[in-house]
Amino acid sequence: MDNALVSASRWQFAITAAFHIIFPSLTVGLALLLVFMYGTYMKTGKQIYLTTFRFWRKIFGVGYAIGLFSGVVLTFEFGLNWANYANAVGPIVSVFLYMELISAFFLEATFFGVLMVGDGRVSKVVMFISTIMVFLGTLFSVTWIVDANSWMQTPAGYDMINGQFRATNWAAAIFNPSFGLRFAHMLIGALISASFLVAGVAGYYLLKRRHLAFAKLTFSLGLGIISLLTPLQFYVGDSTAVMDITYQAPKTLAMEGNFNPNTTSWNLFIIPDQAQQRNIVQVAVPCLGSAFYDKDFTCHGKTPSMTLVPPQAQPPVAPTFWGFRLMYYLGLLMLFVTAASILLRLRGRLYNARWFHRLVTIVMPIGVIAIIGGWITAETGRQPWVVYGKLMTSNAVSPLSTAEVQLTLWTFIVIYIVLLTLYITYLVRAIRIGPEERTQQPFSQKTTSHVTMPAVDGDSGITPALGD
């Protein structure tokens, strides 16, 4: 297959997927937050929970819409750019996608409408149920999509007839060897990402000394979840890597970026030259390789080398290594935030330590970035296979003209940049305005706010934030 065509097709899919993952990485956690907030509001009647609910609902809504769009693009992209893949794996992978659609996508999309404009039109119980349904939808989405991708990584329960896969055992296909751990890893990652966003916004308000009730509540909650889940994520992540060694060893070798079979070092930073099977630049820690791989602290075990795999079957080391390091190093930063938050909490200084508020505000996006790094690892590490060991990526593309694909590739890039800019602008604006703190009851037309409401025709839905 024409290399330029394969390359353009791969970039297009990669960019769509990377853009897409930003949004589910946030919306799963935000949806759960909305459930918690509205449920607590229903139970306690306290305004602060409704305020928090409404603030994060708006942000959730916009992110959800963009994520939905890019998700639909991905679904069609399988057929548009990867027709041979679609034809070959359709009987299995598309069934997972179909299950995602019918058990998750429909659920969240239907109740999303109620969630966004239902206040005042439906009862509190219905609002609460709708919020739960939206969260369940996002959860089931993650389940099936990770399942589809996991099947590509560790195919099971199938045989092949005339180049087409077909299922012989659905249970084996669905519960393929890598699914469980990868699902846990992604889900926890998504919850952590949303928590960093929520805590970051709260940190900002603490710094500006605005919306203090809202800020304290969400700062504490966000950091609490981060503290619980980050250590767990390290355990799950490590287990996933160990599982990878069994099923996709070349990926783990590329993750380490080591070309020297005689070293015991662990690479911190490399610039690889894969054609020459060496690293042009290498910063490594001696003996750490033995510790990680062989659990050997006496510095005898060797760090496994990429050279164990014949060059034509090697994944591209640069993106696999750097995707993994991006995720891992940010993970270490998350551990630091966890430790700091626990210490500050124990000393009762969580809401006073302004250096910490500044830090948490700055690191708002690290969850999302780490997830992108992880997915880069997962997907580039699987190369040159699209279905590991069974179907090569270069054989999977659609018979399109290279020019066509390059045209759409650049169009996609422009559109994603525009959408991302719009989203971030919207996010910044929403944060600057802040949560509304009127004391209007949801079902009555009256308000006790000191800002007078104009007549119905120009009825304002957004009042200036009080208490600035």
Partner: protein
Amino acid sequence: MTTSISAFVWLLVMAFALVTYVVLDGYDLGIGMLLLTERNSHRRHSMMNIVESALDGNEIWLVMVGTGIFAGFPSLYATLLPALYLPVILMLFSLGFRGFAIEMQGKYDSYQPVWGTVFFIGSLLAAICQGLAIGTLLTGVPLNANGAPASQLSFLNGYTILFAIFYVAVTCLMGASWLNNKGEGQIELNAKKVGQILTPIVAVLLLVVTLGALIASPVLSLHNEAFKIAGVIGMIVLGIAALVTLFFILKNRNGIMPFVFSTVPQALALLSISFINYPYLLPPSMTIAQAQAPQSTFQFLLIAAGILIPITIAYQFFAQWLFRGKFTLEQGEQGKAA
């Protein structure tokens, strides 16, 4: 190779999904295009709000069709999409920007012209692309020796362009009928007027695309030609009858009935194309039997669909019921404000 029963059943499910999509998204595409006919920004805002609550729930049926075809007829998916590469991508962008525009519009208290324009253009482009795509289902995609499309422009010919024009007109008509159902006051009155202007136009276009289908089909003469021609003529008669009825009940009736009638020409146009094509899934060379997925796939799909589709329809109805009745601007604003 014969078409398996499960493949045929799945095809019916897909046909149902396609018609559902075309009906549901039809009206919101139509309303988007009708924004052009409405000068008053207050009413434009209302029109967009009417669409907002149902938009995602409607568009998702498109994904149902896409994913369902991917699962049940992988070779069709793999052949048709590259043949429709540019229109499908343009359609996806248009739908995406519409979704974003509606979401952004909902964040403001008054009508914001830029989002209305984005929504209008997105709706128009999406409708044109969908029309081209459906038209291509009739005129077909000739394949070369490798099974790849012989030309990158099979989606662009006289018939597909005509079908796109029909598609735009009929979705506008559905949009007007929906506004008649959900809108109040001047919106409702304007909708009636627009609907009555469109009805005869759609009738003429329906004739053109159905008779045109008989002429443009590369496979009509291969199987049961006379029976198919008779069937299509029957559908034309039904379609015209529905449109005539619609013309008269638009004047005096509100509620859902005019909308129901407005969906008939669309459904019949789709039905004619499938009827003419049978047993081809994609003329001139791909039959249903050739494209169908292995049995193990259908076994899983049909069980899953059998359980989940009725549940889905139930909660979709529930969600629509929650927003039943006329849509008032105050209620919409209250929903966002409260």
